[in-house]
Amino acid sequence: MISGIQKLLKVREVPVFLALVLVILITGFANPRFFSISGVQDITLGVAVIAILAVAQTFVIVMRHIDLSVGSTIGFSAFLIGYQSSHGAPLWWCLLSGLLLGVGVGALNGFLVAYLQLPSLVVTLSSLYLVRGTFNEIAGGTTITNTDVPKFISFLGRNYLLGIPYLFWIAFVLMIAAGLVMRHLGWARDLYAIGSNPAASGLVGIPVARRTFTAFVITGAIAGLAGAVLLARFNTAAANSGTGLELNVVAACVVGGVAIAGGLGTPYGAVIGAVLLQAITLALGALGVPQFWQQAVNGILLISAISLDRYLSSRVKPTQIMRINA
């Protein structure tokens, strides 16, 4: 029994999940309205976009890489989907164009990181600028209004299944799918191996470059498709859509136990991290903390999460000296 609990506590996602339960319980007792169905809906609706991007980001972070371009990609895709729809394109075509945009950005990132062996931080910082610049140039002052949004997409954004917003179900299904893939498929296990030790993975015959390329394409593709979710969430899109999301996404992953140093973490953790950050933001509001403190608390939470992780992992095994090759 005790060893079972100890085993459970060693699962990286468990402490974050306990923190989430704690936050919800404390807030709920202090302000019962937090327990209501609308409280749940607030959290799940608000978190959907970040949760989806965090699942996507997990693929690259476990490989000790990072993709900062997702905020630009998702914003551009949301605009593209709405724009095409407003010109009469059918839904499937709109979604396909969003997907292709994401795949294109992901393939560019992947090619530069995997085959030219350039640092992903620099590459994706550049593509953040390139995609955002191109997007703004095309979008100009155009705003996609709610009448331009495809009917099906705005339906998803405003309706609920079993009391939970459709957008969160999308994130949930994606999380399960990605979780199963990363747990059971050989090529996805390679990503963990690469993140733990890139040089050794090459020596044991893992096609490091090809796997790296694939992971960036997957991240880009999910970000591209998620443009539809961003569009559904706000029912509008403009040149500034998706700005600055990248750092929130990385924060969600890190809080959820996806280690920046690579080799550790799951899509489940990434989503739990995203939900925790969102729950705390809303909890502060429910507890009457002025909203101006929310971002500061998020920062403290992120730092505490990585400090705690560091402390726990230093008890498990002797400290390793790790260098970031971000």
Binding site: I66, L112, L116, Q117, L118, P119, L121, V122, V123, L125, S126, S127, L128, Y129, L130, V131, R132, G133, T134, N136, E137, G244, L247, V250, A251, V254, I260, A261, P290, F292, W293, Q294, Q295, A296, V297, N298, G299, I300, L302, I303, I306, S307, R310, S314, T319, I321, M322, R323, I324, N325, A326
Partner: protein, 321 residues
């Protein structure tokens, strides 16, 4: 054979000359004294932080919280002044705030042992959040004129804005320390191999602590410049500057992997970006063109050296066959 080798930083310097010459002949008003003054003001804050960030990246670390630290310093100045503290002391408070931000980052990285990329994403949110906590929705717009005029006017009798003094003094200081002192050599040694540096007796943790503190302090200095230039302290100032600073440093030839870089390469890089921005603006290009150009230049700065390396390796392999 002692032939001239074209390194990346020399290339940037040449690019700077080329863009400036093209700009002066091809773009009206580019060479005007007003425009030169404007360019220098425009790059001021980013350059000041880039000097310190270069050290940090050469040592193999990074700080994403600089823009938030800059703005927290600005917010501190605003709040202190609003509550009756003399402006001079408010500025001191702003500088100390920047230093404190850097020390917190340094503590988390060197003492707690966390990775700087993750830590400074956290403090990016924390410091920015504190700006909102301090100021709420009330930016401070009343600042004494004799101070703010330092932010937007030129040194008397010249067309150089006052920030030029800071750029020259700090530029010289950071250049000499990085390239001509033991401390500077240690920074490179740590970036090349922190373990080897440690075993050869370099106080790695303490040196990194100093670098983080220095970056925080320079963010504080930039915060003062920013506050004076806009005569205002608002919670959402300087958003996104961190990426501009890092882009400038990397474009200046500092390797993100650590151990490589020159300070004058970084200086040339900031100037190139400032000049290109000015040329684009005067030629009626939109702000988007600048985003695209920044992204493309940053990409070229990593692709170009790698490509030439690969070509060289290919040639070697061929000649040895």
């Amino acid at each position: 054979m002692n032939r001239f080798s074209l390194t990346w930083d020399k290339g940037i310097a040449l690019l700077l000359v080329a863009v400036t010459v093209l700009g002066s002949f091809g773009v009206p008003y580019f060479g005007s004294t007003d425009n030169i003054s404007f360019i220098l003001q425009d790059i001021g804050e980013i350059t000041l932080i880039a000097f310190a960030m270069s050290y940090l990246i050469i040592a193999g670390e990074i700080d994403l919280s600089v823009a938030s630290a800059l703005n927290l310093s600005s917010a501190t100045i605003g709040v202190l002044f609003k509550n009756g503290v003399p402006f001079g002391w408010a500025v001191v408070g702003g500088l100390l705030t920047g230093l404190a931000c850097g020390l917190i980052n340094g503590f988390l990285v060197t003492v707690v042992g966390l990775q700087s990329l993750a830590v400074t994403i956290g403090t990016l949110a924390l410091y920015r959040g504190l700006c909102f906590a301090l100021l709420g929705n009330n930016p401070v717009n009343q600042m004494p004129d004799d101070w703010t005029s330092l932010g937007y006017s030129n040194i008397e009798g010249t067309f150089f804005p006052y920030v030029t003094i800071l750029l020259v003094v700090f530029g010289a200081l950071f250049w000499v320390v990085l390239h001509y002192t033991q401390f500077g050599r240690r920074v490179f040694a740590i970036g090349i191999n922190p373990e080897a540096a440690k075993f050869s007796g370099i106080p790695v943790a303490r040196t990194k602590m100093v670098l983080f503190a220095l970056t925080g302090l320079m963010s504080g200095v930039a915060g003062v410049v920013y506050t004076l230039r806009f005569a205002s302290a608002s919670p959402d100032g300087a958003v996104g500057y961190e990426l501009a600073v890092i882009a400038a440093v990397l474009f200046g030839g500092v390797s993100i992997a650590g151990g490589v870089g020159t300070l004058w390469g970084v200086l040339a890089s900031v100037l190139v970006l400032g000049v290109v921005r000015s040329v684009l603006q005067l030629s009626d290009f939109s702000a988007n063109a600048l985003l695209i150009v920044s992204g493309a230049l940053l990409l070229i700065s990593v692709v170009f050296p790698r490509a030439s390396e690969m070509i060289r390796a290919g040639r070697k392999a061929k000649s040895s066959n």
